[in-house]
């Protein structure tokens, strides 16, 4: 008898989206704590933050910004087309989104790699002898872009699962709330990067 009533549970799409939004709020607060830390040390070591920012590759940062913004576009389009039942198109846009996410990570990998090659990583002797301001800047750089990178990685995995579900027709024109929620997450990761980009790469 209880089994019957369980199947009766109607999926509540609006509730499910609300839950996702609330989850995104917790993500916002998590990054807000980091931005708090950033703003404190930027106030304290303003000149050093400027000289450190110049050392980052502005081109790499800009390219990654464009990559993520474009991936947000393809994400939104993949949801838009699944609503009208164009599954092939949606799969195309989903795979584009995943590829762009991976491209972002590859770019990030080379960026980090170059810095590590020069001996700049948290608590490295090279970094410590460059002074307190730079130590804080690079500490924040690794922490914030690292945590953001982990979120991109999680998004890539999530969207890959969504891709498989779309192939299996578990996501379709009737039921696409999972894809929509994954999209919300992906866009939020984009929003975080929109702030990370100027605060690390564009200090003048």
């Amino acid at each position: 008898m209880s089994n019957m009533s369980i199947t009766e549970h109607r999926p509540d799409y609006e509730g499910s989206r609300l839950g996702m939004w609330i989850f995104l709020f917790t993500e916002m607060l998590l990054f807000a704590g980091l931005f708090l830390l950033y703003s404190v040390f930027r106030t304290r070591y303003s000149p050093e933050f400027h000289t450190s920012s110049v050392e980052l590759s502005r081109t790499a940062g800009t390219v990654n910004t464009i990559i993520l913004l474009t991936s947000s576009l393809t994400m939104a389009l993949s949801i838009s087309v699944i609503k009208s039942g164009r599954r092939g198109m949606s799969l195309l846009f989903q795979s584009l989104t995943v590829s762009l996410g991976i491209l972002f990570l590859v770019n990030k990998y080379f960026e980090w790699g170059a810095k590590l090659w020069h001996g700049i990583y948290p608590n490295s002797p090279e970094l410590l002898q460059r002074g307190k301001g730079k130590t804080m800047f690079y500490g924040l750089y690794y922490l914030m872009t690292g945590l953001h990178g982990l979120h991109v990685l999680a998004g890539v995995i999530l969207l890959t699962i969504m891709f498989i579900m779309t192939v299996n027709n578990r996501i379709n024109r009737e039921q696409y709330v999972r894809l929509e929620n994954s999209g919300l997450y992906w866009h939020l990761v984009d929003v975080v990067w929109v702030y990370l980009f100027p605060v690390f790469y564009l200090i003048n």
Binding site: L29, I66, S84, D190, L202
Partner: protein, 95 residues
């Protein structure tokens, strides 16, 4: 009750929003090249906020959500502002 968020935004709108975002990125990179002193930081945060707002409103459909959700987002943003603001009563004076 409408089971899905059926307000579909057209292809053209999405691409227009994406175009705005790319242009704003170009602007913020250019502006940071100018020597604007402390206004430079303000400008880059403002531009970033405009970009974030575009993503939230259109890509994330916030524009078409019910008012309650907008209020929740507002509360979240206020909380963040309060946390950072009150910390600066200490940090801003001590440093």
């Amino acid at each position: 009750m409408n089971k899905n968020n059926d307000h579909t935004i057209g292809f053209k709108t999405y691409i227009a929003i994406w175009f705005c975002l790319v242009v704003l990125t170009a602007i913020t990179v250019t502006v940071s090249g100018l020597n604007m002193g402390r206004y430079g930081a303000l400008a880059s945060v403002l531009i970033a906020s405009v970009k974030a707002a575009l993503v939230l409103l259109f890509f994330m459909h916030l524009k078409y959500e019910r008012p309650f959700l907008k209020l929740m987002l507002l509360v979240t943003i206020c909380t963040i502002a309060v946390i950072i603001g009150l910390t600066f009563f200490d940090i801003g004076v001590r440093y």
